[in-house]
């Protein structure tokens, strides 16, 4: 019986595997709670208290505080749950793309168009 081999890294890509899923559980659980409008409002009333309620660690809290998308991913966030946090901020996936690649949204959109 052979076990799966260690895989070579894909640049600029974090696979959401067991390691990330364990690390990010509290953060993702908080973001999953944002499916509910009442929870979104509770978060917006007091972000720090809401992060405490879900048990976020220091790195996760800082990444939430600073809206640091790459930081949220490094802290175990999964993009599908993070999208619900982005929704609260009024950001779409192109905004997220721009934030992660250091581009403006217009530059990011132009990059997508260039791949036609």
């Amino acid at each position: 019986m052979t076990l799966p081999e260690a895989l070579k890294e894909i640049p600029g890509t974090t696979l959401f595997d067991g390691r990330q899923a364990m690390k990010g559980y509290a953060l993702n659980k908080m973001c999953y709670s944002f499916n509910s409008a009442a929870n979104r409002e509770e978060f917006q009333r007091d972000e720090e208290a809401y992060c405490t309620k879900y048990g976020l660690d220091a790195a996760q809290r800082e990444a939430i505080r600073s809206r640091n998308v790459l930081g949220l991913i490094a802290a175990g966030g999964n993009v599908y749950y993070l999208a619900k946090f982005a929704g609260i901020l009024g950001l779409d996936v192109q905004d997220l793309g721009a934030l992660q690649t250091g581009m403006t949204k217009e530059q990011f959109k132009a990059r997508l168009l260039a791949q036609r």
């Binding site: 696979l15 499916n35 690649t101 036609r116």
Partner: protein, 284 residues
């Protein structure tokens, strides 16, 4: 016996929901995408499916990381859409086809697929948007079909392999064709094509691969099963791996020849290379 009349595979980008809500179908950005569905609408009027078996992936509406099934089959009487947190309008509920659902569950488990079965399930944009694209009049006239959702995990790695998803689709197809009923069944697969939302590689698209993949579904449907999940992520992006749903849907058509009725491919819709294919068994 029931008959599989064809397969429709399409992207399911959330922005499509916003475009529908704002009536942007004729907007220059959206027109090349929405126009792609006109031939599918014409085909559906003739083909008149009764039931849809739809392969899709949940994005954190029904399933969270507390319990993450690899393959889940819905066996509910009704499926509702719900708030996903970023505000696209909800669609009316769908009627479930429970007899076929349990038939599939029995047949698949007999063939060693260890399924999760769900008698309650909320369905997200990956199911609702493709349905809305196929039946844009649903707000007025309701959904003309009953559904069986089949959810494949693409959230948490390890994901099931392309080979396994193909085998799942194949088994679903055989089970549908062995279902004692006169129903006309359409198979759908939603997601893809190449895109990546997360990381510094966000915005990655691979047109060459997508076109080769679409072509393979006509002539060499197992082509993509040569790749590992890791290779598929590398070639298509972390979300491009949703082509697994396309593979399962294509496999359900069986190993005989298929006819390509229609195909559309357009870059970009939001961050995604959008694809659409309508296939039917050639000996219809």
């Amino acid at each position: 016996m029931a008959q599989i009349i064809g397969s429709v595979t399409t992207s399911h980008v959330p922005a499509i929901g916003r475009a529908i809500a704002r009536n942007l179908q004729a907007d220059p950005y959206w027109k090349p995408f929405f126009d792609g569905f006109a031939p599918v609408h014409r085909w559906l009027r003739e083909a008149k499916p009764d039931v849809v078996v739809i392969f899709y992936n949940d994005h954190g509406l029904n399933f969270f990381l507390d319990k993450m099934p690899t393959f889940a089959v819905g066996a509910a009487a009704e499926y509702r859409n719900a708030d996903e947190g970023w505000g696209i309008p909800e669609v009316p509920p769908f009627k479930g086809e429970q007899k076929l659902a349990w038939h599939l569950i029995e047949q698949l488990i007999a063939r060693d697929f260890d399924l999760t079965t769900c008698q309650e399930m909320v369905v997200d944009h990956a199911l609702t948007l493709p349905m809305a694209l196929l039946w844009p009049d649903h707000e007025r006239s309701g959904w003309p079909v009953r559904i069986v959702p089949v959810c494949i995990n693409t959230v948490q790695f390890p994901l099931p392999s392309a080979k396994r998803c193909y085998a799942l689709g194949e088994a679903v197809g055989e089970a549908v064709r062995a279902w004692k009923s006169d129903e006309r069944v359409l198979v759908m697969g939603t997601g893809g094509l190449s895109h990546q939302l997360d990381g510094e590689r966000a915005g990655f698209i691979n047109k060459d691969f997508d076109l080769q993949f679409m072509e393979s579904l006509v002539h060499d449907p197992r082509w993509a099963t040569q790749y590992s999940i890791h290779e598929l992520v590398e070639k298509t992006g972390t979300q491009g791996v949703e082509l697994l749903m396309w593979l399962a849907a294509r496999a359900a058509l069986g190993n005989g020849p298929v006819k390509r009725v229609h195909q559309n491919y357009h870059i970009p819709i939001s961050n995604t290379a959008s694809g659409l294919m309508l296939l039917e068994p050639a000996a219809r």
